[in-house]
């Protein structure tokens, strides 16, 4: 079957781009939150909201690739599963964070900042493992 011969154990260019793209987006949201907490300048909170929204689009598409990789992996336990679960956790907490950031003015703080920090670490970990292994070996 051709589908099997084209199956990549490591992420393809599109999968890798989507996955790696989540890092600057979620990291940008964290930095914007820090700036908002320090200055009370609302534009930083607006930036954070849109960065998170963009990151959720990238992470959501990467999650679909990760799921396909997991289903097709010969040995599902280990890194393919770890990668998928990390990315899933990133996306779910990222969505919670998006709603947290939708609150008016300072109501998003400090929970929004804490969530942004956790999600930034999660997305780094997911990207690291995802790009190293591709989720299957």
């Amino acid at each position: 079957m051709t589908t099997l011969s084209t199956y990549r154990p490591t992420p393809g260019p599109l999968h890798a781009t989507l996955l790696a793209g989540t890092v600057p987006l979620f990291l940008g949201a964290l930095l914007s939150d820090i700036a908002y907490g320090k200055t009370y300048q609302i534009q930083w909170a607006n930036f954070a909201s849109w960065l998170i929204a963009g990151a959720l689009v990238f992470a959501g598409l990467a999650l679909l690739f990760a799921l396909v990789n997991l289903v097709r992996a010969e040995h599902k336990a280990g890194q393919p599963l770890a990668y998928f679960l990390l990315l899933l956790a990133t996306w779910v907490l990222g969505l919670v964070n998006a709603f947290q950031h939708a609150k008016d003015a300072y109501a998003m703080m400090p929970t929004g900042l804490v969530l942004s920090a956790i999600v930034a670490v999660l997305t780094l970990a997911a990207t690291w493992i995802g790009l190293r292994s591709g989720g299957a070996r």
Binding site: W50, Q100, K103, D104
Partner: protein, 430 residues
């Protein structure tokens, strides 16, 4: 962080699963409401009651009164004015051009639009005339057009004042006129940047020399930044002759209607308070407007109840904030107020009528009616009385949304309905 209202995501998305239950039970009315605890839900409640035409139905009014639609097919009627000869002027329009700053603004505006009329705002004044006094307003004609979201109306000494969303303007008026002689004269510009709350309410002193304009805040609670709130959330006093203005009272989040108390010359207003602190906060209110007073927004509400969302906080302003006179209940969205007269009948002789547009961010809808707040000795006294209901039906559907209420000296109440694009008139039958 509470996730208890996750279920409201479903109702927000579906919109149409309206529940006809009475949402009033947890609402505190009166001069000293017991305030609920602040709540913060991850997903704000949004409940838009499904609009549907009135058909054969009408608003329900008390026994001894009847209601008639005196004008239909208007272009978003908001506030009305009764001229000395009995003609009724209707301000029609929709304003606001606030940018959507967050993903939330995009989603919320789509949801809220479900509960509003799809008609384009008229940007005009329509005149209604009942020449023979039979209760049928046989003449419906455009008095003035090309206005910019006109809302507040006032008349004194042959001058008709209109509060557009960006300027206060004036027409010369002679008795019996059905069309303005020309373009209006500008009295003064009004704060119009962003116009998150665009309605400019208007009242005039009995001698016609001072005008009062209510200017709403540019946000729910400073989420567009503190710097865009200069000259917002306040009532201006404007000299009718020169256009000179000064802040008359501040900290009033959205003073959507103003009226003069007959006899005393005291200015009163209804104010829409802030959202997203829970279904039972913060009470919208009716209050006399004290000159120089600060009413709390954005730093606090109902006196010294601090709102932590407004940062940086200002403890000195919180300490200075005064309590309003009378709670109407949270999220009822009072948009109209007018003093009654003895010709309205014994029960409704002394007090104010209040038009409640109705809630959009509360699981059980409230408002969607016209109430009467009885007064004694010049102050609100006792529980509100329902005057016109049925705008939000027991079937969970919404047929109308009251805005401006105006007492006709002949002994009738005129109600603008901006969902059905209708003007109702409630008269006595006994």
């Amino acid at each position: 962080m509470k996730t208890s209202s996750t279920l409201t995501l479903l109702s927000a998305a579906l919109l149409l699963s309206a529940c006809g239950g009475e949402g009033d039970k947890t609402q505190a009315h009166g001069p000293d409401p017991k305030l609920a605890e602040q709540q913060s839900s991850l997903i704000p409640s949004m409940k838009i009651a499904e609009p549907t035409p009135w058909g054969e139905q009408k608003p329900k009014v008390p026994e001894g009164y009847s209601v008639t639609a005196i004008a239909t097919d208007l272009a978003i009627p908001r506030q009305t004015l009764v001229l000395p000869n009995g003609d009724v002027l209707v301000a029609e329009g929709r304003g606001g051009s606030a940018a959507k700053l967050k993903p939330k603004d995009v989603i919320a505006s789509l949801i809220k639009a479900q509960g509003n009329t799809q008609v384009k705002g008229g940007n005009r004044l329509t005149l209604l005339r009942d020449a023979d006094g039979d209760g049928t307003y046989e003449l419906k004609t455009v008095f003035a057009e090309n206005l910019n979201a006109p809302y507040g109306l006032a008349f004194a000494d042959g001058k008709l004042y209109v509060a557009n969303q960006d300027a206060l303007v004036r027409f010369d008026y002679t008795d019996g006129q059905t069309k303005a002689a020309g373009a209006p004269t500008k009295v003064t510009d009004l704060p119009a940047q962003i116009n998150h709350h665009w309605t400019k309410s208007l009242a005039i002193s009995a001698d016609g020399r001072q005008l009062y304009v209510g200017i709403g805040s540019n946000s729910n609670v400073t989420e567009r930044g503190m710097e865009v709130e200069i000259d917002r959330a306040m009532v201006w006093q404007i000299d009718a002759a020169t256009g000179a203005h000064k802040p008359y009272a501040t900290g009033l989040r959205n003073p959507t209607a103003l009226t003069m108390q007959p006899g005393t010359g005291q200015l009163w207003t209804v104010v829409n308070e802030r959202d997203e602190l829970g279904p039972d906060l913060v009470p919208d209110y009716l209050t006399s407007v004290r000159e120089g007073a600060f009413y709390g927004w954005p730093y606090s509400y109902w006196g010294q109840n601090v709102d932590p969302r407004a940062q940086p906080q200002d403890p000195a302003k919180v300490a200075a904030a005064i309590k309003p006179d009378y709670s109407l209940g949270s999220h009822v969205a009072a948009l109209g107020v007018d003093f009654s007269i003895p010709a309205m009948g014994d029960t409704f002789a002394d007090g104010v009528f209040v038009g409640e547009h109705g809630s959009w961010n509360r699981p059980n809808p409230v408002g969607y009616k016209v109430i009467f707040v009885p007064f004694s000795n010049g102050k609100p006294s006792g529980e509100p009385i329902h005057f016109a209901t049925g705008f939000h039906g027991d079937d969970g559907k919404t047929r109308g949304r009251p805005v401006g209420v105006t007492v006709d000296p002949k002994g009738a109440l005129i109600i603008a309905d901006d969902l059905a694009n209708t003007v109702w008139r409630v008269t006595r039958t006994q």
